[in-house]
């Protein structure tokens, strides 16, 4: 067997192995699409992926059943607000903790780092009563404030700090020579240089907010204020039985745009992680 055929065989094995591994990742999406197009009784009646009759009306029924467009918008705008504010607040704090000398900075860092791994479940009960006192129950504010200032915000701060630490100091020093203040150095020099870290933080934060489930479950009552995850879990008929076909149609509507964005941006996503130095 010569080298070339051996390489060919390795390559075939590689592809076959990965294809097999890919099944549990891909099949759920196919099944979701097929279920989204089936009638209510068909979802389980036939195991075929091809619907006996295509029910496009499922998609319009989703919008008649609950204010789905509104809920979609809620999720989207909350995730954007959380991401943008996190970028702003965390990069400033991260920069200060990496570059500026001030009394207490070591202590602040220690406190923040110890909260890095604290899940929101630890503080959800007091936060429930805090939000009540602040009059923020049944609003989107808890869904914005808690990720921003909880472990997610801390994680973003920490990642930004690590990135700024690794950035060469010389450029900033040159900027200071030119008469820039610390603010100026931060906004005009450090921030533009940290695009990879900013995009990695954006992705992580956006996904965190997009996936948020416990907080909306606890803080939001009105169906118009629901976010997508709550809305998806809310397709039940009169007596609490799930409306599978609508649930799957809604799931498809929630998933597909994200997938498209991801496929278009996938190279940048990997690169931003590679360059952001998310590795401790």
């Amino acid at each position: 067997m010569n080298y070339r055929t051996q390489q060919k065989i390795t390559r075939i094995c590689w592809i076959v192995g990965l294809c097999a591994l890919a099944i549990p990742f891909v099949f759920p999406f196919l099944w979701m699409l097929s279920g989204a197009l089936k009638g209510q009784a068909d979802v389980f009646a036939s195991s075929s992926l091809v619907p006996a009759k295509v029910h496009w009306s499922n998609f319009s029924d989703v919008f008649a059943y609950q204010p789905f467009a509104r809920q979609y918008f809620n999720s989207l705008y909350i995730a954007i607000v959380v991401t943008v504010s996190t970028l702003f607040i965390s990069s400033m704090a991260g920069y200060a903790l990496a570059r500026l000398r001030f009394g207490g900075s070591a202590f602040i860092l220690l406190v923040l780092v110890s909260a890095l791994m604290m899940p929101e479940e630890v503080t959800i009960i007091p936060n429930f009563f805090l939000m009540k006192e602040l009059g923020l129950m049944n609003s989107h504010m808890p869904l914005i404030l808690l990720p921003l200032f909880g472990s997610q915000g801390v994680m973003a701060t920490f990642l930004m700090r690590q990135y700024f630490l690794a950035l060469p100091k010389e450029l900033e020093e040159a900027g200071r020579m030119d008469g820039l203040t610390r603010f100026g150095v931060f906004f005009k020099i450090a921030l533009p240089l940290s695009k990879p870290a900013l995009s990695a933080v954006s992705i992580i934060t956006f996904l965190f907010s997009w996936n948020l489930f416990l907080e909306p479950l606890v803080f939001v009552n009105d169906i118009e204020l629901f976010t997508l995850p709550l809305a998806l879990a809310n397709f039940t008929d009169t007596y609490g039985l799930p409306l599978w076909h609508l649930q799957l149609a809604a799931t498809a509507l929630a998933v597909i745009p994200m997938l498209i964005v991801y496929v278009l941006a996938q190279r940048q996503i990997v690169e931003s992680f590679a360059m952001s130095g998310v590795k401790g």
Binding site: P28, I89, E121, I125, T181, P229, T251, Y262, F273, K279
Partner: protein, 299 residues
């Protein structure tokens, strides 16, 4: 110009300190209000007997802890479940992430396609993922068992037998999150200089030796970060449990984060739930300290 800006009363050092505090003040303020304050409050709540429904509370000292630790066997089940969940999920997730990253880090044709495939669940809403898998894991009509039956395997009732339910939730959770770890590993692998590899190869090292002697040690920092993220992620798992099993059957998938939610918001035992939250806090603090020590030891 610069002479005007540098006020005579403030030294450079003081100005830097002020800027520093200014920069950290937004996150610090929010952190104190929405994290530290509630954290202190949860310690206080944990010493009360508090019914969410009647909103009456009274001080009971350590009774909630005594209750959890000595009288309530569910608590220990829950704690064990949380650890089993982490112990099952973390190694599986990391091994799979590393394996995929090694297979996909070089830019061969097809690599980008497969990266996309394995990352797709990461950007899929967790609720959507859990819902779909709940369908796929049904006993007879579920696709998983129908697939197994082709090979003559009679699959279990995945989500309705305690041990299998745990396996199922771990498995779906791994599928959901492994993509992110894979990307982090790929990023780390791509930053390893090529010449290390080539030098070793010229000296006749096998693939395994290269991995063990060069790649793996160089990945250590990444591995540590991924481990931290994954362990924490596994201890806070909520949505998968809520949607797929509700903690059942027989509390077989009842983990701490979900138990806190149920006790606090479903069964109205708010004080008891606060005590559970303190336990979770202690557990994670312990992990954080261990991780810091590990990191320090490495340096």
């Amino acid at each position: 110009m610069s002479a005007v800006r540098k006020g005579p009363s403030l030294s450079l050092k003081a100005r830097e300190a002020i800027t520093g505090w200014l920069f950290v003040s937004p996150i610090l303020t929010g952190f104190l209000i929405f994290f530290v304050g509630p954290l202190i409050a949860v310690f206080y709540y944990s010493t009360t007997e508090w019914n969410l429904l009647s909103q009456q509370s009274r001080f009971v000292g350590m009774a909630n802890y005594v209750d959890a630790l000595t009288r309530n066997e569910t608590f220990w089940d829950v704690l064990v479940n949380s650890l089993v969940f982490a112990a099952g999920l973390v190694p599986l997730n990391m091994a799979m992430a590393l394996g995929l990253a090694l297979a996909l880090s070089k830019s061969r044709p097809g690599a980008v396609f497969f990266r996309t495939v394995f990352f797709a669940p990461v950007i899929t809403s967790a609720v959507a993922w859990a819902i779909i898998w709940t369908f796929l894991l049904q006993h007879e009509s579920g696709a998983v068992n129908q697939g197994l039956s082709i090979f003559g395997i009679d699959g279990p009732n995945w989500l309705h037998e305690p041990d299998w339910a745990m396996v199922s939730v771990i498995f779906t959770r791994v599928l959901k999150t492994v993509g992110l770890n894979m990307i982090l590993y790929i990023a780390a692998l791509q930053s390893i200089p090529r010449d290390y590899d080539e030098a070793a190869r010229i000296e006749g090292a096998s693939n395994w030796e290269i991995f063990r002697r060069i790649t793996w040690p160089l990945l250590a920092p990444t591995t540590l970060v991924i481990m931290v993220i994954t362990v924490v992620g596994s201890l806070k798992v909520f949505d998968h449990i809520y949607l797929m099993t509700g903690g059942g059957p027989q509390n077989g998938t009842m983990v701490l984060a979900f138990y806190i939610y149920e006790q606090g918001f479903k069964f109205f035992n708010t004080g008891y739930a606060a005590a559970l939250a303190v336990v979770l806090f202690a557990l994670i603090l312990l992990l954080t300290i261990v991780q810091m020590l590990l990191k320090a030891a490495r340096k």
